[in-house]
């Protein structure tokens, strides 16, 4: 187990180098540069050249990359060209928001998706089945940003049930400890702050959850249908076990295997979906910040954030693999 984790973490190193090299070249090939973002259309060629020289952008690309890697080894990701704060500071401040949002979305997707998929399979061919299969198809088809706008227009602007933007009402003056607003509220016993942060999470989380929810419903349904036909379920029935024991112990547990795998993969999609959702709801997480950084050609921020997201993605999938071996003893991690 331990060796498996270490090996997977070591595999991360070449992955990150490859990714960073690709990103580095790719970002610098984008038309325009930070000097355009800073100067706008009016900058003279001399001013542009001066800024580029200042930032070291006039050097050969491999020299720039070498410098980036040397700093990276010291865990220094540089300074944002637009906010003038270190990339790490920006990340620590913003990442908790995205994590809160992603976890809420995933909880919605898992909490609703697995029971719905299971019930659809049990009532195969009946109303609930058709509803959830049809609903999930719609869920997959609707673009996240569109759903986000619709939810915002209906539930925030028209009905006024939920806040339309932000992570928390700033007038509450909530104390910050971890930048996870809900967690902070609980830790400091500022219950109103925690509740308000949760309240702000609802609409963006629902929008973000739509695609993972739809996928989880479908995978769970297909998987349960498959397991119901397995010989060992018939054996369990032949033993005279009660229906609930057969379902819980024999059907559900076995049908969770593909669902767990898909949850790991969906996490990647969640992070990219967060970029759009956060922008719509002016939710200050990394998504909105990355969007900003792209338009500003803020190279250090883009490099740093994307690399950290890659690390997070790998870690999440490592966790998924580990939990997989908990569910299925045949998968031995070595």
């Amino acid at each position: 187990m331990f060796r498996f984790i270490v090996r997977r973490l070591l595999q991360l190193i070449p992955t990150l180098f490859g990714l960073s090299l690709l990103l580095f070249i790719w970002l610098r090939r984008l038309p325009g540069g930070p000097e355009t973002a800073i100067l706008g259309e009016r900058g003279t060629p001399e001013m542009r050249a001066a800024i580029r020289r200042n930032m070291g952008l006039d050097e050969p690309i491999l020299v720039q990359y070498g410098r980036f890697v040397r700093r990276l080894i010291r865990l220094d990701l540089g300074t944002s060209t637009s906010t003038k704060r270190t990339v790490v500071t920006e990340f620590v401040e913003r990442f908790p928001g995205t994590v809160e949002l992603s976890i809420s979305a995933m909880l919605i997707a898992i909490g609703l998706g697995i029971p719905l998929g299971y019930l659809a399979a049990r009532r195969r061919g009946r109303m609930l089945d058709h509803l959830s299969v049809g609903g999930s198809l719609i869920g997959i088809c609707i673009p996240v940003f569109f759903l986000a706008y619709v939810l915002k227009a209906i539930f925030a602007e028209n009905l006024g049930w939920f806040p339309a933007s932000g992570r928390q009402d700033p007038t509450l003056g909530a104390t910050r400890i971890t930048n996870f607003f809900v967690l902070d509220g609980i830790m400091t016993r500022e219950w109103d702050a925690a509740a308000d942060a949760l309240w702000h999470l609802v609409l963006p989380a629902v929008a973000l959850a739509s695609i993972p929810l739809a996928i989880i419903v479908r995978i769970t349904r297909a998987s349960v249908l498959e397991v119901l036909n397995e010989d060992f379920v018939r054996t369990a029935e032949a033993k005279g076990l009660t229906e609930s024991t057969v379902r819980r112990r024999h059907v559900l547990r076995n049908s969770m295997l593909p669902v767990v795998t898909s949850i790991g993969l969906l996490t990647g999609g969640l992070l990219s979906g967060a970029v759009l959702t956060e922008t719509v709801f002016a939710f200050s997480g990394i998504g909105a910040f990355i969007y900003e950084a792209i338009s500003q050609r803020d190279y250090p921020v883009l490099m740093g954030f994307i690399l950290i997201i890659a690390v997070v993605y790998v870690l999440v999938n490592l966790l998924v693999d580990l939990s997989y071996s908990l569910i299925d003893p045949r998968v031995r991690v070595r």
């Binding site: 054996t235 369990a236 032949a238 005279g240 076990l241 024991t245 112990r249 003893p329």
Partner: protein, 366 residues
């Protein structure tokens, strides 16, 4: 009274736009306490469907219809509601399946799969259940049972897995055990061990055993009474020795003749039954075996052949059965003689159980 009396059991699968499939059609047989009864036939003859119907384990689907009776110890299993059926399953009637690997839950340790039966039917929990489970594994010949309890199915060999399944089936000392081709997925040496184990278990506990198999070797080694199935019908029922010595139904004759022999001469060809099982007959009804039968006569077509009761407690469904050795083959017309013209049989033949469709006739004494 017999422990299990299956009367006129029929299972049909109807599908919209398709012809209704009669998987089991008027099957009747009985099992006495402590008896080993064989259900024999080739793939698709309805053996497994019969056993699953008795257990109430046929997959629930629209278009499935189960008719007839399966009376176990005075209660018709087919009429029971789901809950009482679950109470009987695993406690009074248990079943062993064909493929031990897929029949065991891959993600749950063997121990729990044994103890869950004990918990369900004998109310045993915790250490007591575990102790009993270890004893059960020991009884079915699994070495080091305490360690095996914690292992998963994939860590056991094929033979061990089947032993574990047998342990689960006999955990509550059922009065009837149904074994659906329990040795098909195992290699020959293990097959013999498993059969030996089953034999021992039923002999020691007085459990009745229904042995479903296509292997006549298994039948010869185990069964007291044999029912030969073809096309969803029982075509011949007899005690083991008479069946092997003088099979009457041409299908039984063909089955016995098709067994490869180790002492056969070099270059001697195998002796299969020509053709294959088909569920579509080229006529309305009649003997399902007729298309492949060497002894086919005109009477085979039209209506299902009546059940003929022979003097030795044997019965078969054939209008032109294979002749008994040592007698002249009766003319084809004799087998088709109407019941009214047949002379009165012995008391023994009159007592023999008979299937309900159509009214049984008695065989003319040779």
């Amino acid at each position: 009274m017999a422990l299990l009396d299956v009367e006129d059991l029929s299972v049909t699968f109807a599908r919209r736009g398709q012809r209704t499939v009669h998987a089991v059609d008027g099957v009747s047989f009985s099992v006495d306490a402590g008896e080993v009864v064989g259900l024999v036939g080739e793939s698709g003859c309805g053996k497994s469907v019969t056993s699953l119907a008795i257990m109430g384990l046929l997959p629930k689907q629209p278009g499935l219809r189960v008719g007839g009776k399966a009376v176990f110890d005075g209660t018709d299993l087919l009429q029971l509601d789901d809950r009482s059926r679950r109470d009987i399953r695993g406690r009074d009637v248990a079943m062993i399946f064909q493929d031990p690997l897929s029949s065991l839950n891959p993600v749950i340790p063997i121990g729990l799969q044994v103890t869950e039966v004990l918990t369900r039917h004998r109310g045993m929990k915790g250490a007591a259940a575990e102790k009993e489970a270890a004893e059960l594994l020991d009884r079915v010949g699994i070495p080091d049972p305490k360690r095996r309890l914690k292992e998963y199915p994939h860590q056991l060999s094929g033979g061990m897995r089947q032993r574990a399944l047998i342990a689960m089936a006999v955990a509550c000392q059922p009065r009837l055990l149904i074994a659906d081709e329990p040795t098909t997925a195992l290699d020959v040496t293990i097959q013999a061990q498993i059969l030996e184990l089953l034999k021992e278990l039923v002999r020691d506990s007085g459990t009745a055993l229904v042995m479903i198999t296509h292997d006549l070797g298994v039948v010869a080694g185990m069964c007291d009474t044999v029912n030969v199935l073809y096309g969803g019908r029982v075509v011949e029922t007899a005690r083991r020795r008479p069946l092997f010595r003088e099979p009457r139904h041409p299908y039984t004759v063909g089955l016995l003749a098709s067994v490869p022999r180790l002492d056969a001469g070099r270059g001697e060809r195998l002796n299969p039954i020509p053709g294959s099982v088909r569920d579509l007959l080229p006529w309305a009804d009649g003997c399902a075996f007729a298309p492949r039968c060497a002894r086919r006569v005109d009477e085979c077509v039209g209506e299902p052949p009546a059940l003929v009761l022979a003097h030795d407690g044997r019965s078969y469904r054939c209008v032109n059965p294979a002749p008994l050795p040592g007698t002249l083959p009766p003319p084809a017309a004799a087998g088709a003689a109407p019941a009214a013209e047949a002379p009165a049989g012995t008391a023994k033949a009159a007592e023999a159980t008979a299937g309900p469709v159509p009214a049984p006739r008695e065989e003319e004494k040779p």
